[in-house]
């Protein structure tokens, strides 16, 4: 069942990009947030915002005096995490020359979802000349949590973006109980719909923490897409050094079809993961924007 009735003409996001293949069942929250950034009067402004509960946003901040056209927005959740059968969608459209850093104020806990996974859908539409840094804090998967992450990005040539996604498991009782599962779906296409890069995976908590874990002995995982033209991309060795300095193990590699870089990061726990991602983010952000990211107060 479609969750929203917005007409296609309101945004560049195509209907087929939206809300595909839900596996959720049961009565969870349905919420769809939409943010449209554009450049006007030398600044990046929000020309459209739909932010229903549990989403909440701050006003736009200009944290970089030397680059007033770069807006920073804090995206918050008013509900304390993701719950059974939740289905939350976030659409961000970046119109030409808009520059925005969208981040969160804290990690998001995914609670025990029982038989009805939570689902988080992200749709990004990036016009040529725009810059989006989407840097949510890590997801913390509690025992029994099942989460579906579905991200689709339409990338114009000449658009730039940093998109992070990360998670760690945590048992508040300290008994090492695993989360249920996490499914990851990513598709980056150009404006014509040609697939530039994809990622699909389903990882069960028992495998995540098991003896043959695809993470080895690490227990927290992060990924970062750095999408830009070749000349704008950060140096891979600098990214590796930045993650190493934060006591994380990371590796960056060129994406197929010249889409940019893919970075993977492993850490022993969520705290190290957040620091490692921050370090890599600072390197990537500087390469794409020419600036060190402004200090975020949390």
């Amino acid at each position: 069942m479609p969750l929203r009735t917005r007409s296609v003409g309101q945004c560049c996001l195509r209907p087929e990009m939206l809300h595909t293949g839900p596996m959720t069942a049961g009565a969870g929250r349905r919420s769809q947030a939409t943010l449209v950034f554009a450049k006007g009067g030398g600044k990046t402004v929000l020309t459209r915002q739909t932010v229903p509960y549990p989403f909440h946003i701050t006003r736009l901040f200009q944290l970089h005096p030397q680059k007033p056209d770069l807006a920073t927005l804090f995206l918050q959740s008013a509900s304390g995490g993701l719950y059974r059968a939740d289905r939350l969608g976030l659409d961000i459209e970046m119109r030409g020359e808009a520059h925005a850093h969208v981040t969160t104020q804290s990690a998001t806990v995914v609670h025990d979802t029982g038989a009805s996974p939570a689902r988080q859908e992200t749709r990004l539409d990036l016009a040529s000349g725009s810059l989006l840094a989407l840097q949510p804090d890590p997801l913390v998967l509690f025992p029994g949590a099942a989460l579906e992450l579905d991200t689709r990005i339409v990338l114009d040539r000449g658009a730039s973006a940093i998109v992070t996604e990360s998670f760690a498991s945590h048992d508040p009782r300290g008994e090492g109980r695993p989360f249920e599962s996490i499914s990851i779906a990513l598709e980056i296409t150009d404006r014509s719909g040609r697939r530039l890069a994809t990622e699909n995976a389903v990882v069960h908590g028992e495998d995540f923490a098991g003896p043959s874990s695809p993470l080895g002995s690490y227990r927290a995982y992060g990924s970062m897409l750095i999408l830009a033209t070749e000349a704008a991309l950060p140096d891979i060795n600098e990214l590796h050094d930045a993650m190493g300095a934060a006591n994380c193990l990371g590796g960056a590699s060129r994406l197929p079809n010249n889409a940019g870089l893919s970075l993977r990061l492993l850490a022993p726990d969520g705290g190290h993961l957040a620091r490692g991602l921050d370090a890599a983010f600072a390197t990537a952000f500087k390469a794409l924007s020419g600036l060190q990211p402004g200090r975020r107060r949390k």
Partner: protein
Amino acid sequence: MLAALLALQHADSAFPSGSFAFSNGIEGLAALEPNFGADGLARAVTAILRHRWARSERVALTLAHRATGDFVRLAAIDEAIEAATLAETMRQGSRRNGASLLVTHARLGTPGAAELRAALSAGTVFGHLAMVQGVLWRGLGLDEAAAAQISGYQTLAGLVTAAIRLGGVGAIEAQRVVGEVLPVLAEVLAEPVETPATPDAIRLESFTPLVEIAAARHARADLRLFAN
């Protein structure tokens, strides 16, 4: 009987498939873990089979086998592999290994090899290994199950052989690892592969971040025995 013997011929490490140049992450893992030995190898091979090969290469190979030489479908499978292989050295390795295998089969006159080689030369396909294997092994008359078995066994054997050549494990230990992991291979081989309704619905799943990180770091090492 002949089909079984044919499968042995093409699974044999003596067959010039070109795979000897690739460790598919094992050299990088060994560099990350100073004590990388038989236990580490068994864990790595298990993770690669379960979390990459089972739902990525195996699926692509099976779909290529089912494509019955239809180059539109084969190109779509190949593009799906290209887009889904985010680690650059793995992507390049898959293409290079596919091209090497194709050269061998073209010289042997395997049915379908010449046409596929022409498509590769014309740039209409990337020539990823799993797609090439599916086409060639079908051309030889091997059925879908046998093709997946050969691919799985070669993946396992190739990783273990790389570890031996790197000095990480001895030949006897290596065979213990192979024996330990064969049940995992058998388990994933039993999983069904569904044919997607449309080529753009091909879904290849992979989640091996440690191996990908190891391969990415290995790509920047000064001294390397393997290409990836």
